[in-house]
Amino acid sequence: MPILAVWCKELRDAVRDRRSVMSLCIFPVIGPLMIFFMFNQIIDSVDQAQDITLPVIGAAAAPDLIDYLRQNGVAIETVEPVADGAFSSAQDEYVHGAIAERRWNFALVIPPDFGEHIAKGSAVNLELQYDSSRQREAAKVARVENLLQAWGSETAVLRLLARGINPALVRPATVARIDVASEQARAQTILGMVSMFVLMAAFVSGVGIAVDATAGERERKSLEPLLVNPVPRLCLIVGKWLAASVFSMAGLALVLVLNLTALHHVPLEQLGISFIMGSRELAGILLATLPMAFFATALQLLIGLFARSFKDAQVYIGLLALLPMLPFYYNLMNDTGREPWMNLVPLLGQNMLLTDVVSGRAPAMTDFLLAGLCLMAWAALFIVAAAQQLKRESLLYS
């Protein structure tokens, strides 16, 4: 059985090729690392916003405000004003210096005449100094600012009440924000990224074999001796294709398992995201993505046969690995929802199925079938074209 012979040879060859094995092993690790990194960033900043130490200059002038901040869980670090007092240039320099040296990330400056302004009922300027380039501190700064605003509103309400005025008069409308997105839907964006990684894996993992079995054969001049064997060209290509598909599927499964494991170890509940991945969902994802391995490697083999050299092929095929990003971005832009024709577009169909599965909607079996069959039809077309290309005399002798 020549197909089997080619398949075995290509797999044996690939397993011994450090580059092929490396590309199979390294890529799947990237996704989980990104997930851990991103989530820890998000969760960290949420956590830290609860745990704030606020340096305050001139705290003595505003005991009420300081009490209010303390009641709301903000630890206060009182700092004596510089000799000239607040709002002087020496004072500014001191605060800027402390922030630049990273002793502080932000500071509140209260003017010495704070008490007088409050007593007179006139407006007083507070300064919250911070460095907006420190992303991780943004949540803390926002929380302090919110507390200061809230204290201001409360004080205003008390003043109006003291003068016998209904506070509602100065606040004709209030806005309540109600987020109706389900927890599953919120998880979608993150899981969408996972599905992009899974689709990319199909392209990245089989590349070693696909290039070696086409442009590689030509470059090391082993193609001519191979073709003098009485084996139909289609059999040769199919053998190479199935071997590359094995690597592609292995990479795909590896990415899937590692990413899901990573998601299970990230405290998603803290972000209000619930993530349920049962065997049903897992089967759905595999069903949606496995045909991708055959599609990707078929396309790579075809391109590999058209490339003039090994390097040529690597560049073209490397660019192919970016294809799975297209449906990801298309979905970001497109909000008209799912339409039947999308099943028929390679990658887009798979992406739709994946997003459906991970966000808890079970797509119909016909959707899986349609998208899978469509991919396989494309793959078959590429394989036949590749066999045709292998028959050209100019491929060997140009």
């Binding site: 020549p2 001049k221 082993s222 003098v228 009485p230 002798y397």
Partner: protein, 241 residues
């Protein structure tokens, strides 16, 4: 038996092969001799089915190469002009791979591989990966994998090109042994010396045409030149420089 008649192949207006015809008999070694670019490799490539002739016919044991290329390939063992190996496979695995492609059983492959390794004196490299093989070792692997199915006909494109004396000698011995078994062997060369020590029959090609076909002795008689090299030069009609 290998027979070509009126073979023509045109590459972009140049007639690389222009009406070549000859017969290579069973139990004989036929040498295709010519300068670089004379049309030797093109003729052989048509014979082993990787180029299509524009006109004329090529038969291997009566099978038309153009009509039944796979059947013709089954009857032939080929060592191409390209000697590419797979760097991560061993010599033995190369031979086995070609045996499997030709549908031989595992036992048949193992038996034949043992014989070839011995005949070509390559047991020492049998289980080493091809990466780092010398030119001679590469050629031996190419020859061995071409012979794995014990073909009735052999087509060899410059089989001893660039080999050292010892390797050349073991290749020659093997070819003489195969001739004694009644195989039809067609090989090309641009070195008269090579042809005269090995071949029963010489076909001299120049500019895509057959200039001479016969034994080395007949060549001497026809040209009246005793030195075969000189005779070859005079027949191929190219002035020595």
């Amino acid at each position: 038996m290998i027979r070509v008649a009126e073979l023509v192949k045109v590459f972009g207006g140049v007639r690389a092969v222009d009406g070549v015809g000859f017969t290579a008999a069973d139990g004989a070694i036929t040498g295709l001799l010519g300068h670089n670019g004379a049309g030797k490799s093109t003729t052989l490539r048509i014979l082993y089915g990787l180029l299509k002739a524009d006109s004329g016919t090529a038969h291997i044991d009566g099978v038309d190469v153009a009509l039944e290329p796979l059947q013709a390939q089954r009857l032939t063992g080929v060592m191409t002009d390209a000697h590419g190996l797979y760097p991560r496979l061993t010599a033995r695995e190369h031979i086995t791979y070609f045996g499997e492609l030709r549908g031989l059983t595992r036992q048949a492959i193992a038996k034949r591989t043992g014989w070839l390794l011995d005949a070509l004196n390559m047991e020492a490299i049998a289980d080493r990966r091809a990466e780092g093989f010398s030119q001679g070792e590469r050629m031996k692997v190419c020859l061995a994998r071409a012979l794995v199915h014990d073909p009735k006909n052999l087509i060899l494109d410059e089989p001893t090109n660039g080999l050292d004396v010892m390797t050349t000698r073991s290749v020659r011995n093997l070819l003489q042994q195969l001739r004694a078994e009644g195989k039809c062997i067609l090989l090309s060369s641009h070195v008269m010396q090579e042809i005269s020590t090995l071949c029963d029959d010489v076909v001299i090609i120049a500019a895509g045409k057959v200039r001479f076909h016969g034994t080395p002795d007949a060549l001497r008689r026809q040209t009246g030149i005793d030195d075969l090299e000189e005779a070859f030069v005079s027949v191929s009609g190219v002035e020595p420089c």
